[in-house]
Symmetry: C4
């Protein structure tokens, strides 16, 4: 591949991460708005709609953008993949910028569809140790699913990740953000899925810890094929 | 293939598009009626039923008719496929006629099952810029999913498209029609899933713009295999 | 294969059809009872639970018993398969007896789990032309899905059939029985999923007509590989 | 494989069973708590959320840990696999200890996420013959699904098992524990998914009987390939 082609290939990856994360946030925030508007105050029904929409869209997006960029759509995934040597460090900053900026665009798109301001700060408090622990568990589980499938059945990853997030929306007290780009962008929507800006930092710290824990554990659990088949 | 066999093959494709789109509309309109009748006024529960039924039926229909006609079931898909050279232009009019007429038959079938008139004009207003923008996003996303999967994993398309529509019912303010044939046929049902006839034109225009946008973008994002593997 | 082994193989198939249909009816009737008991009168929520449970169990059962008996679990499927020459006529009576008796056992099992009499006649009226037409559409669609997938992607049948039934529970006015063995057995449960015995005959007649229609149509739509690839 | 490597491989399997069962219990108990808190007293909605979360997470966990340990996550599965000669008896005690201790850790994790005590005894009575019969049916069905898929399409097991449990939550009167480790651990949570300690023994006995019944039946139904293809 010549230098021009390499640049083109890198640009395609960045656009895929940008667009995929934008559509993911549109799905999370938009379905939260729709669910809350229609559910007549029954939060379980609103969250069920939010869950089904997020899980299904996530599967579709990973299938769509996976062949182009790997469909990380998540800085925690990009960083973890770089740590284990599966993704070049020099491309990490570009991916994270694409993911975070795409996430904000997705929130703005959802707001535009539902006749709301482009951005408005969330007042949804999500604080305390149990919320942070929830994000640790949520992201530990997410990375476990990715590493567990990556070695033996990578084609199942879109379904496994979507199924996991579908479950984690309900079994974590924080409804499983599990993604720093998602967390930042959800701070500028004062709707169902929002998070107050002051609560984003503990969420992101817990997510990175959970991702690191799962990545270290699975490096030991599922060693490289070259070693395990020796 | 001799000319008689070619004609036979083309007729099979048209029947598949006709029947597939009919069953799709029966599913959309029928489950909307059932959902609204049973949900005691909780629109979120009605839409959840409508969503699950539409997404599941769509997966089954694409699996069923895909091997015969490609299972477009959507003029926007047929046009986009012709634009990128994947489908011959001379077959486009036949496909669109089959899809639109099938869609109307499906609405009539749903009405007959639920003891309603064959057709009756919808009074469900779905107007305004945010509704049109919703349809742009919905169809942009739909075609993105199709093109993203088509190159690398075409066998996942039935699941990816169904999952995407399941999500898009909730994250777009218009509940994601994303299909001109569906839009036209839903104007003759004054039930849960209807759309007032005067609102169909902006919907269809937005859908075609969204389809065109995604198609152009993915022509750049996922170039032909011959080029990308060079 | 010697005669003893052939007999053993046939017995295994009959046991698989018996057990599979029993578990299917336990799922349909049991989840209907549970749904109605818990849903506080919201029929949409009860039917949603009934739908999710039936669709999911059906996928699992077809995956489980498919390799042994083909997992028909439905006399309409067995008859249609015999008509197109895919299943020997001499085995049809045995399959149907196994399916119908299994279906009744499944209802008794569900009743036992929920502390109800083994059997008690349903008073749930499901009569009229629109109900019969619903069953025609439901079974026409079911056989379309089976024949559409059978030629090109048989391994998708468990998922396609389960997805189709998940949708058809909502888009037909009869909630899609689509199976004569299921219809007969649901006449002896006076619970959510029951059907009054006098209404079973029109249901079964409509189901057989729908199955016949789809089978004839798909014999033309998807001709044998030997012909289509000539 | 040298002795050191064999020990390492065994340790990895035990950690996978421990962690997988922990995440499974976190999902069951956590989503039960969330569902009950949000559902405003509508138990059907709470159980629907609990069902969707458990089924989806279970699919993800079997996909994740299957390549490492077989992803039993259930002493009844481990014992049944040993009985048919698919799993060495000498590893059974280790697996069961890992599963049970992991299950308790998962309950503690769910409690921590939702600001509850690490453990507190359940007062949820689940007694009587119909409850025990429900567990017999639930586990008989679970093992049927596993053995039915294991021979012909093992890659479908994660989806088949998850789909089956999704259905069985609704069609058994006991909501389908179907797992002795899950049963024991759910006795120390006085929340939605709890079971009073005095009711655990009949549950476990019925589960083991159901597992034994299905295992014996499927040993006859799906004989070893070497025999059936002779």
């Amino acid at each position: 591949m010549g230098p021009a082609r390499a640049t083109l290939s890198k640009m395609r990856k960045l656009v895929a991460e940008f667009l995929g994360t934008a559509l993911l946030l549109a799905a999370i925030v938009g379905s939260g708005i729709m669910g809350e508007r229609l559910a007549q105050g029954n939060v379980a029904v609103a969250l069920l709609a939010n869950t089904v929409a997020t899980g299904a869209t996530l599967a579709a997006l990973i299938l769509t953008f996976g062949p182009i960029s790997g469909s990380h759509l998540n800085p925690a995934v990009t960083l973890a993949d770089a740590v284990i040597g599966g993704f070049p460090w020099k491309h990490v900053p570009g991916y994270i910028v694409a993911q975070v900026s795409g996430a904000f665009l997705g929130v703005a798109a959802a707001h535009t569809m539902f006749n709301l301001p482009l951005f408005f700060i969330s007042h949804h408090a999500r604080s305390g140790a149990s919320q942070a622990f929830s994000e640790f568990v949520a992201t530990f589980g997410l990375l476990s699913v990715i590493w567990g499938c990556a070695r033996s059945r990578p084609s199942a990853i879109p379904y496994a990740v979507a199924a996991y997030i579908t479950g984690a929306y309900w079994f974590t007290a924080s409804t499983s953000f599990a993604n720093p780009a998602v967390t930042l962008a959800r701070s500028v929507t004062d709707t169902f899925s929002g998070i107050a800006p002051r609560d984003t930092l503990p969420f992101i710290a817990a997510q990175l810890l959970g991702a690191a824990g799962a990545t270290l554990l699975f490096r030991w659990l599922t060693p490289k094929p070259g070693i395990s088949h020796a």
